[in-house]
């Protein structure tokens, strides 16, 4: 009895699970397919693509220029009554947008928001440099407008490719350097500015470019840092030197894919009306008395004393020589000794 009851319960569970599985598989989920990209096409409308449906994309370039905007119009025509339809676009690179309210475009995907048209405008912004080839895949579905998904609705797919335009060889650029202003004077101890303006081969300024500044000094090259060019193509470097004199400031633009590198230089004369150099480093030009400071005096006395001792010893060497008997050790005597056969020389 008990075993019979248990078997009946298991059979009931099995029937319920089988019914649930059949419902899930067999009964379609109701809802709108607007904006859904079909993986294998618009299979809800008909099983496979129908190539009587003609798809055209006006404005699609075979060769695209990086970062350029391309207005596109997607058309669909075919043996389907009415004027309704839908589309779905997927582009591998770049971005899609549209001003048409019946088009939903975002990123690299676009689709329709209503099924009442067979032509849709799009704007494709090409990807940046070095992006390579781009693939544009568009599905267009033409519907008869009877409200049901049936074989009267036809769809097709079109795949388009675009190649990136080969980059043009970079063209020469030019640089002009100038001191901050014609009325300004570079003063020791104060910041002053050096400008470097770069232009392309047509003379147009190159903005957002990096320019490296350096100063050539007697002991080497001093990097002054780098600046970025403004919309007028001008980069600036601030510098301060504690010493008066003429300084050669150089600038270097590394170039880009469009523009070749360029460099320039400007001579900056720095004046020291405030005596900054003297204040900082002890006025070397004020005369010999400035040598008498707490470092130089003891050091000079020490080193001078030592060298005087050396001279004293050298003096005794000369005295020692003078005390010796006259001998054949002059230059001529030594040469004679060198070449004499006996090697004895005159004493």
């Amino acid at each position: 009895m008990g075993r019979w009851r248990a078997g009946r319960a298991h059979a009931a569970v099995a029937v319920v699970l089988t019914a649930a599985f059949a419902f899930a598989v067999g009964v379609p989920i109701q809802g709108s397919d607007v904006g859904v990209l079909p993986a294998q096409g618009c299979t809800c409308h008909s099983d496979g693509p129908n190539f009587d449906v003609q798809i055209a994309v006006d404005g699609w370039p075979a060769i695209y220029t990086p970062d350029e905007a391309y207005p596109l119009i997607v058309h669909g025509e075919g043996p389907v009554t009415g004027a309704g339809g839908g589309f779905s676009v997927d582009v591998t690179k770049g971005s899609l947008s549209s001003t048409d309210p019946t088009v939903l475009a975002s990123g690299n995907h676009a689709t329709h928001t209503s099924g009442a048209k067979r032509s849709w405008p799009l704007l494709w912004i090409a990807p940046p440099e070095d992006s390579g080839n781009v693939r544009f895949t568009v599905f267009v579905n033409l519907v008869d407008g009877d409200g049901s998904d049936g074989p009267a609705d036809l769809w097709s797919v079109l795949v388009l490719d675009a190649q990136e335009k080969a980059p043009e060889p970079p063209k020469p650029s030019s640089m002009v350097m100038a001191f901050a202003g014609p009325d300004e004077v570079a003063q020791a101890g104060h910041n002053f500015t050096v400008h470097a303006t770069i232009a392309n081969s047509t003379g147009a300024p190159i903005p957002n470019a990096t320019v490296t500044f350096a100063a050539k000094l007697s002991w080497g090259v001093l990097p002054l840092g780098a600046g970025t060019t403004d919309p007028n193509g001008t980069a600036r470097a601030n510098w301060s030197v504690p010493a008066p004199g003429d300084f050669l400031v150089t600038a270097y633009y590394d170039g880009s894919s469009k523009n070749l590198s360029s460099n320039g230089s400007v001579q900056v004369t720095v004046y020291d009306p405030e005596g900054v150099w003297q204040d900082l480093y002890g006025g070397q030009e004020k005369g010999v008395w400035t040598w008498f400071d707490p470092v130089r005096v003891p050091l000079g006395l020490l080193v001078g004393g030592v060298w005087l001792t050396f001279f004293y010893a050298t003096f005794h060497i000369l005295r020692l020589r003078k005390a010796g008997a006259r001998e054949a050790d002059g230059p001529v005597d030594l040469i004679k000794l060198l070449f004499s056969r006996s090697g004895r020389g005159r004493r």
């Binding site: 002991w219 080193v303 010893a313 005794h316 030594l334």
Partner: protein, 443 residues
């Protein structure tokens, strides 16, 4: 005198090997000059590598000559006589090599002139340049003064066939005949240079230590660095004289002149400096151990258990070993004293690496990592070349000049003879002045 006119095949072999090493080092330097310091392991973080370590080492060993020759001469120590020439030659040779080491370390060696043209007197670098230049000049003058009577002897006794050298000796002997006036002049000059060369030598190494001590780098900014450097310099300088004594004693058959007693006396001096140096080392590292600064702790960790630990422990433990060897009566023989001196020189060369490199490896900016340094074959080749140069200068010197001071030995013998002849209780005999040309002499 025999080694001056007869050259053994061993000598040619040694000079050939040293010349080969030097040639290879020159090729390495040419490569470094051609391609820049990129061929070395030096970086912007560790810019002083084994070149500057070698520089400190060679300046250090130059001390031996000053110590043995000048101090013992001033104190009229009699046993100094057979070893003064070796000591003075070691000073001159070491200094000639030392001045090249910073030039190797420079990417643009021609800019050494900028130190003369634009050097600021407030900089320890300029002081060092002046101190070492003065020390080199003084050492060469000292060496020359002590050679004058021997130039006269060599001019007199060398055979006619060595004509070029005899021309040079005749020019350099300054008409030395050993007259009383000449002896007075030589004595005065030697006395003056002996007195002045000691503070010069001390200043040269102290100023060198200031190049480190006056920076604010971890491990360098220390008041003990002056005496620490001078102590190490005296220590290594005397040790190199001991090694040279052993080599020339054997090569020139000077067993009668340089006796075991000389080695023992030098070992006594070495032992004193060894204990002093151990005391300085203890002071230096114990102070760092108690520093709360992170940088000091990084330095200590680098030395004790980091990649430089083998260098640190070798230099420290070998120093202890040398001290023991020098102190034990059983190891106070010529062989063991020489081995100790040799080990000491290796130890102190490694010690210079331990001083220079770890402090530069410690990060200067918070968050930075410890810098690493690995010398390339170019650096090793040039360093090997510097050691070969030192030995080669010595070898050439030994071929041109007697390695023992002939006139000083004769002077000592004369003094001993007079002391023996003087009546008991009489005044001590004054050492005679350098002998006259006609006197019997020669080694």
């Amino acid at each position: 005198m025999a080694p001056l006119v007869r050259t053994s095949s061993t000598y040619f072999a040694v000079v050939g090997i040293l010349g080969g090493v030097l040639l290879f080092a020159n090729l390495a330097w040419i490569r470094q000059l051609d391609e820049g310091l990129a061929v070395t392991g030096l970086t912007d973080r560790i810019s002083w590598g084994i070149y500057i370590s070698g520089f400190i080492y060679f300046i250090g060993i130059s001390y031996g000559g000053t110590m043995v020759s000048a101090i013992l001469r001033l104190t009229k120590t009699e046993w100094r006589r057979p070893i003064t020439r070796i000591a003075e030659a070691s000073t001159a040779a070491a200094l000639m090599v030392a001045v090249m080491m910073p030039i190797f370390d420079m990417g643009r060696p021609e800019r050494v002139w900028s130190l003369i043209l634009y050097g600021r007197i407030e900089s320890p670098l300029v002081w060092d340049f002046i101190a070492i230049g003065t020390y080199l000049a003084g050492s060469l003058l000292f060496l020359y003064l002590a050679l004058i009577p021997d130039f006269a002897t060599m001019d007199r006794v060398l055979p006619r066939r060595v004509r070029v050298r005899r021309v040079a000796y005749r020019f350099l002997k300054m008409r030395w005949e050993g007259t009383p006036a000449q002896k007075r002049s030589l004595e005065r000059a030697l006395l003056a240079i002996s007195i002045i060369i000691i503070p010069i030598a001390v200043s040269a190494h102290t100023v060198l230590s200031w190049m480190f001590g006056m920076t604010t780098r971890t491990g360098w900014h220390s008041s003990i660095f002056g005496p620490y450097f001078v102590g190490a310099a005296l220590f290594s300088g005397i040790a190199i004289v001991v090694v040279a004594m052993a080599i020339f004693r054997r090569a020139h058959h000077l067993e009668d002149l340089i006796t075991e007693d000389h080695f023992r006396k030098m070992a006594n001096i070495l032992l004193v400096f060894s204990l002093t140096y151990l005391y300085f080392t203890l002071n230096e590292y114990l102070t760092i151990t108690f520093q709360p600064s992170t940088d000091e702790q990084i330095l200590l960790q680098l030395l004790v258990e980091g990649p430089l630990a083998p260098y640190f422990w070798f230099s420290t433990l070998s120093l202890v070993l040398v001290t023991v060897l020098l102190a034990l009566p059983r190891t106070r023989t010529i062989r063991w004293i020489t081995v100790s001196a040799l080990l000491l020189n290796v130890s102190l060369w490694v010690k210079r690496i331990v001083i220079v490199i770890p402090s530069m490896a410690v990060p200067l900016v918070p968050g930075d990592t410890v810098a690493t340094y690995s010398p390339t074959w170019v650096e090793w080749a040039i360093t090997a070349g510097s050691f070969a140069s030192f030995c080669l200068i010595f070898a050439v010197f030994a071929k041109l000049f007697p390695m023992v001071s002939l006139w000083e030995i004769e002077e000592g013998e004369e003094a001993a003879r007079l002391a023996a002849e003087s009546p008991a209780g009489g005044p001590p005999a004054r050492p005679a002045a350098p002998p006259a040309v006609g006197a019997k002499g020669g080694a």
